[in-house]
């Protein structure tokens, strides 16, 4: 049985027909070049290219190389990849859907709890979250009356210029001898008006009558309509970094990380080249700004709450200033000793 390789741009597909049709698909865009696939491959068929070079500089080649003559399509690389960049399919089904050993990781947002504030959507380092929401119209939150006396109005346009929501519209015109007026009409859109009263106060001839009903009757008159919305995490893009869980103001997001461990930075060795900051798929690392002039800030800052211990930063650091130690691999129970050994080998 021969394995064939199909290169599509920087994506790689390996196929082997037989009793089971096996296909290994590598999606270059998804890869963070952490090197876990290279480490776990039992036949040394995978070589991960230099992480910094692949992320920081333009390259024509794929982020990893797979040796078609060595690969046995076992799927270990696919099971370990935290970024869904590798996928082994058996007879067309992804092993993520089959009873195959794999990482235990998840991320979900409880739509009942979610208040659709979009903090997670903004914070997600992989743009994996989409929050949709339907906000009420302004008219539903404010009530009042506005009326312009067109006979008194001199069409000076001050109200139109000052209206903060562009609710006033004047039909301006250049006066002609047969129609010697500067404007023909003035109208206010009650759907747009927020009854702020600026037009009434600026009007030089008191042509505008405006009353906001909230002020005399208080807050109780108007009930705020329910804000409907939806939350969605794209399972292909999600890297289980917990940014959504940590930033959510109402604890609606729940994330399980695939690995546990420890991230150590040698501040004295670090030369601040920023490679790790750019490489990290979870936005764990940053360069803090100095609090005030003359005060030296921490060289490289980490927040391990967001770290999934993939090791991309360690692999990318040119001066070995970063150490990623994995202490636990969360994987589904398996009887296979080979798979257990493979998962456990990623602990340091």
């Amino acid at each position: 049985m021969e394995t064939t390789e199909i290169i599509d741009g920087k994506n790689i597909t390996l196929e082997r027909a037989g009793e089971e049709d096996r296909t290994l698909i590598f999606k270059n865009d998804m890869c963070a070049v952490c090197g876990l696939c290279e480490t776990i491959c039992p036949v040394s068929a995978i070589e991960a290219n230099p992480t910094g070079a692949m992320i920081r500089t333009e390259q024509d080649m794929s982020k990893i190389d797979i040796d078609v003559n060595k690969c046995v399509l076992c799927g270990m690389c696919s099971s370990i990849c935290p970024f869904q960049a590798l996928d082994l399919q058996i007879n067309g089904d992804s092993i993520r859907e089959l009873q195959y050993p794999q990482l235990i990781k998840s991320a979900e947002i409880d739509n009942e709890e979610c208040i659709h504030c979009k903090a997670c959507e903004t914070a997600c380092p992989q743009d994996a979250i989409i929050i949709t929401r339907e906000l009420p119209s302004r008219a539903e939150l404010i009530t009042g009356e506005i009326d312009i006396d067109k006979d008194t109005c001199i069409y000076c346009g001050m109200c139109e210029e000052m209206c903060p929501v562009d609710a006033i519209d004047i039909e301006h015109q250049n006066p002609t001898s047969d129609n010697p007026v500067v404007a023909t009409d003035i109208n206010v859109s009650e759907d747009i008006c927020v009854h702020c009263g600026i037009c009434k106060r600026i009007c030089p001839v008191d042509a505008i009558k405006q009353v906001c009903r909230i002020c005399p009757y208080g807050e109780y008159e108007i009930s705020v309509p329910e804000i409907n919305g939806n939350s969605y995490i794209d399972p292909e893009l999600c890297v289980n970094c917990t940014w959504c869980q940590e930033i959510c103001p109402v604890d609606a997001a729940k994330v399980t990380k695939p690995f546990e461990g420890e991230l150590t930075i040698e501040q004295d060795t670090c030369q601040g080249c920023e490679t790790c900051v750019m490489v990290c798929p979870c936005n764990v690392l940053s360069f803090p700004k100095s609090a005030k002039s003359g005060l030296k800030a921490e060289k490289l800052h980490k927040d391990e709450r967001f770290c999934i211990y993939c090791g991309a930063c360690q692999k990318s650091c040119p001066v070995d200033a970063i150490n990623v130690k994995r202490t636990q691999i969360n994987y589904t129970p398996t009887k296979s000793k080979a798979w257990k050994k493979a998962f456990e080998s990623l602990k340091q």
């Binding site: 230099p50 500089t57 390259q59 030369q271 490679t275 650091c317």
Partner: protein, 81 residues
């Protein structure tokens, strides 16, 4: 595939950005860390020699891409050797 440093001396203006931005150079030489070329014979990856970039110790390179990003004229690259 082996990726490594490649230089194009004919493009180089000799600005030295790569020399001082390189984190490996900076770690190995206090003078480079301070923003200038080394005056002693410390082993660093690259120096400016006769007005253009010269690789001295390619094996020290961690292939992080910092020098590539700092070069204003694409005279240093990381590419397949």
């Amino acid at each position: 595939m082996t990726i490594g440093l490649k230089t194009y001396r004919e493009l180089c203006h000799g600005c030295g950005n790569c020399v001082v931005s390189c984190p490996v150079n900076a770690l190995r030489s206090e003078e480079v860390a301070g923003g200038k070329g080394p005056s002693d014979d410390v082993d660093i990856i690259m120096i400016v020699e006769d007005g253009a970039i010269q690789i001295k110790n390619a094996d020290l390179c961690g292939k992080c891409g910092t020098c590539v990003q700092s070069c204003p004229v694409d005279a240093i690259t990381l590419e397949e050797l």
